[in-house]
């Protein structure tokens, strides 16, 4: 009877326990890392969104801009100019990487070169593991893992010279560009929010029949405009 219910009554071997424990640690580390990255990104975006306030403050404060569309147009122009200023360096770095890649490929006449390859690219200086090994355990095992095989240990190689330049260029430029993109996004979101808030007209708590004073003022103004000599 017991043999017919292998998935429920399976006993874990020491090897499986070790594997589960390792996986748990990896998952926790990944969680912490992703949470930290997310937190960092959100902090950067909050910090950058404040810049939009600085950009549009004076023209709104001194009432040069008095409507929503005008503010959006002005804010967008300022935002894009600032984005260009922030992102031209990472884009230049990426362009340098691309130029080196084209030069390398044209010299070797090999247009399928992967600059991140673990054989002749940037990957040669990292530890890499292969996740496509053999299966462990027999057919009744609940947990089946692929055997993880160490694929590469860090080493320098002559033919990977281009990868050592192109890889960092792409990585640094890419991360930098993504940060400036997130800043652009944050500023755009704040611009939309501000353009709604600043020119908002609220009728919360307003009762037309209760505000006699306002009506009186309106009537007085209309009378004064109709008969301006009365004031004199």
């Amino acid at each position: 009877m017991i043999n017919y219910l292998p998935p429920l009554l399976i006993s874990l071997s020491d090897n499986d326990k070790r594997l589960i424990f390792t996986l748990l640690i990896v998952i926790i580390v990944l969680l912490v890392l992703i949470a930290f990255l997310g937190y960092l990104l959100v902090r950067i975006m909050k910090w950058q969104s404040k810049k939009m306030d600085t950009l549009i403050h004076d023209v709104v404060y001194y009432r040069i801009i008095t409507d929503r569309k005008h503010l959006m147009k002005y804010g967008r122009a300022k935002n894009w100019a600032l984005f260009f200023k922030q992102s031209y360096i990472p884009i230049l770095i990426i362009i340098v990487g691309v130029i080196i890649l084209i030069i390398h490929d044209s010299i070797n006449d090999y247009w399928n070169y992967n600059p991140f390859s673990t054989y002749d690219g940037f990957g040669t200086i990292f530890w890499t593991w292969k996740f496509s090994g053999e299966f462990t355990g027999d057919q009744y095992d609940l947990i089946r893992f692929q055997k993880i095989v160490l694929d590469n240990t860090p080493h320098l190689i002559d033919i990977a010279w281009a990868g050592y330049i192109i890889g960092p260029c792409f990585l640094v430029g890419g991360v930098w560009y993504l940060i400036s993109i997130s800043c652009l996004l944050a500023r755009t979101v704040l611009l939309i929010k501000r353009s709604r808030e600043i020119f908002e007209k609220s009728l919360d708590g307003f009762r037309q029949n209760e505000t006699n004073q306002v009506q009186q003022n309106v009537n007085e103004n209309s009378n004064s405009t109709e008969n301006p000599t009365e004031l004199e």
């Binding site: 990104l41 984005f83 260009f84 993504l178 652009l184």
Partner: protein
């Protein structure tokens, strides 16, 4: 302890929100690249018209003009206020003409000292006058013999001087 669980909750929230955020940013990155290309061509166009991408917009020029106008009107008001304040304070108008508003000449201070000295001397002269008057009264009250003796003594003192 509550903060610890709050941080764990935040971490889990970021963990689930992070992939969405990355996808959003990746989509926006393509849009950003288009914006960059557009800005680049705009920069080239502005370069040939003698401007830059970061030069002032129409609104900024209006704002600067407004602020300049306010500053100049404030300066004029300040100068007028200074002129108004100058007259009641300056005892010697020539000083303010030579040294400018709010500044006093060294002569001004000397004059002040002189005037203070004069004020100090003034009570002394009064005292002398009082003494003279007293001496005249004394002479009137004296008998003829006493008056002769008094005058002789005064003559002696004047001769010694």
């Amino acid at each position: 302890m509550a903060n610890f669980f709050k941080n764990i909750g935040k971490g889990i929230g970021y963990f689930f929100a992070f992939p969405g955020l990355i996808i959003g940013i990746a989509i926006y990155a393509v849009f950003g690249l288009l914006v960059f290309i557009f800005q680049f061509f705009k920069l080239v166009y502005l370069f040939f018209t003698g401007r830059t991408l970061f030069s002032d917009l129409k609104e900024d020029i209006e704002l600067k003009a407004l602020l300049d106008k306010n500053n100049t009107s404030e300066e004029v008001e300040n100068v007028e206020d200074n002129k108004k304040e100058e007259n009641p304070l300056s005892l010697y108008p020539s000083d303010s003409i030579v040294y400018g508003a709010g500044y006093s000449s060294p002569i001004f201070s000397d004059k002040k000292e002189e005037s203070s000295n004069e004020q100090n001397n003034k009570p002394e002269t009064l005292e002398n006058d009082v003494q003279e008057e007293n001496s005249q009264n004394i002479e009137e009250d004296m008998t003829p013999i006493e008056r002769e003796v008094f005058l002789d003594e005064e003559d002696k003192e004047g001769g010694e001087m």
